[in-house]
């Protein structure tokens, strides 16, 4: 429809200017940290955890938890936006930049590609262009709010890609697989947008 329908008597909750500027269309600010996941929360012990980057040539590089902990970590403070409409400002994370991981992986024989499929414990997956996880835009996060990442929020480690809707920040991530061709992940095959830019409100398949 061309014009939105005015809801009789609806005023809504007015926001301060700074908040309005930081909120993508259709989002509202929450101070809480809601949990959205498909299925039961996996509980993974770090002793059994490892992280893999697999190249288009099928070569792979794998880090154990301890090896991963020795990589340089960065602190990130960022706003996050969930497709279910909540946004949360100034969330604090610590993790390893995907740039760092890809640098080491390619040095060790992993052949890069233009797309990546992140896969997780519990069967979850999500797809992204490599350009969206490089250049200081994405991390494997292991701490939230200065504490180890809780299982319901994706611990021990989750992907963090804050400039896209948060389903792209795969919880319980275990592998990044580099691909020549894009391959839709879990929500991307179940009606959600393939790319998921909150500023263009790309929530569902078919949104422009």
């Amino acid at each position: 429809m061309a014009e939105p329908y005015i809801s009789r008597g609806f005023r809504g909750r007015r926001r301060s200017e700074p908040a309005a500027d930081r909120l993508p269309p259709g989002q509202y600010e929450t101070r809480d940290f809601p949990v959205l996941s498909a299925g039961p929360t996996p509980h993974i012990r770090t002793a059994n955890w490892d992280f893999t980057i697999r190249g288009v040539n099928d070569a792979l590089v794998r880090w154990t938890w301890d090896e991963f902990a020795d990589l340089p970590h960065e602190s990130v403070t960022t706003d996050i936006h969930c497709v279910t409409k909540w946004s949360k400002f100034d969330t604090m994370w610590e993790g390893v930049s995907i740039d760092t991981l890809l640098d080491e992986a390619t040095r060790r024989g992993v052949q890069p590609g233009p797309y990546v499929l992140a896969t997780s414990d519990g069967g979850y997956s999500t797809n992204l262009p490599v350009a969206d996880v490089t250049g200081g835009k994405a991390w494997i996060a292991v701490r939230f709010d200065k504490k180890p990442l809780a299982p319901e929020h994706g611990g021990p480690a989750r992907l963090l890609v804050p400039h896209l809707y948060f389903w792209k920040s795969a919880k319980w991530v275990r592998e990044l697989r580099l691909l020549e061709h894009d391959e839709p992940g879990f929500w991307e095959t179940l009606g959600y947008h393939n790319y998921g830019d909150p500023w263009r409100e790309q929530r569902y398949a078919g949104d422009l």
């Binding site: 429809m1 939105p4 329908y5 005015i6 809801s7 009789r8 008597g9 609806f10 005023r11 809504g12 909750r13 007015r14 269309p25 259709g26 509202y28 929450t30 809480d32 940290f33 809601p34 949990v35 959205l36 996941s37 498909a38 299925g39 039961p40 929360t41 996996p42 509980h43 279910t84 409409k85 233009p114 797309y115 519990g122 069967g123 797809n127 262009p129 490599v130 350009a131 969206d132 319901e152 894009d182 391959e183 839709p184 879990f186 929500w187 991307e188 095959t189 179940l190 009606g191 393939n194 790319y195 830019d197 929530r203 569902y204 398949a205 078919g206 949104d207 422009l208």
Partner: protein, 264 residues
Amino acid sequence: MTAQSTAAQPRARKIAWRLAAVTDVVAETRSAKTLILDVPDWPGHRAGQHVDVRLTAEDGYQAQRSYSIASAPEEPHIALSIERLEDGEVSPYLTDVLRPGDRLEIRGPIGGYFVWTVRLGGPLLLIAGGSGIAPLMAMLRHRAIVLADDHVGRHRVPVRLLYSVRTPDDVFYRDELARLAREDETVDIAMTFTRETPPGWTGFDRRVDRMMLMEVVWPPAERPLVFVCGPTPFVEAVAGTLVELGHDPATVKTERFGPTGSPN
């Protein structure tokens, strides 16, 4: 941002905003109402899917929220059951201001994961906390309509609902659930009241726990299809316990809402 691929979804069309007519507003509990909507050109939905609702103020300010569809795909109207959140921005408008004759913008159906159709079979195990009953009600209604005259089909897809509420005043769809359980021997409904029980109640009166699940649910060997919907701490506890009891995590579908909180 230019690397976006559209090749994977060549035929996807934008899910349009539609202007629904509110035909009825039914009190469900002290704090919840069910909106009955007449939606022009509704494309149909599957039980468990949701819609986005959009409100626009006179100055153009907008707010959106998601609500599960509680009606069966086979019913002529869309039913949304809205729990009024005390500090909510949208829900108090929907429960307190909206009335028959008003219109409401909705967009859907959305979601292809938390979905059940009769063709998926059973046994069907539904576990609801509070207003989490809504999408599960769509499944119960869908099953009841499709299998109304199919005795064999009903026995092939038995259903159990475990429904946790705080007090007797918090039960959604009370009469309809009672009638379903009374009229169909393949529908089994267990209630638990966590704060206050009805007078003379002899059933469960505590939070869903391991013992209760062992008593109510089919064993993992029966491979029930499980749908759990409720507040986050409720779903975390129930789904986690089901996995501990041996249910394949892939058969346990969940829908969480509300703050993380701690169980209180």
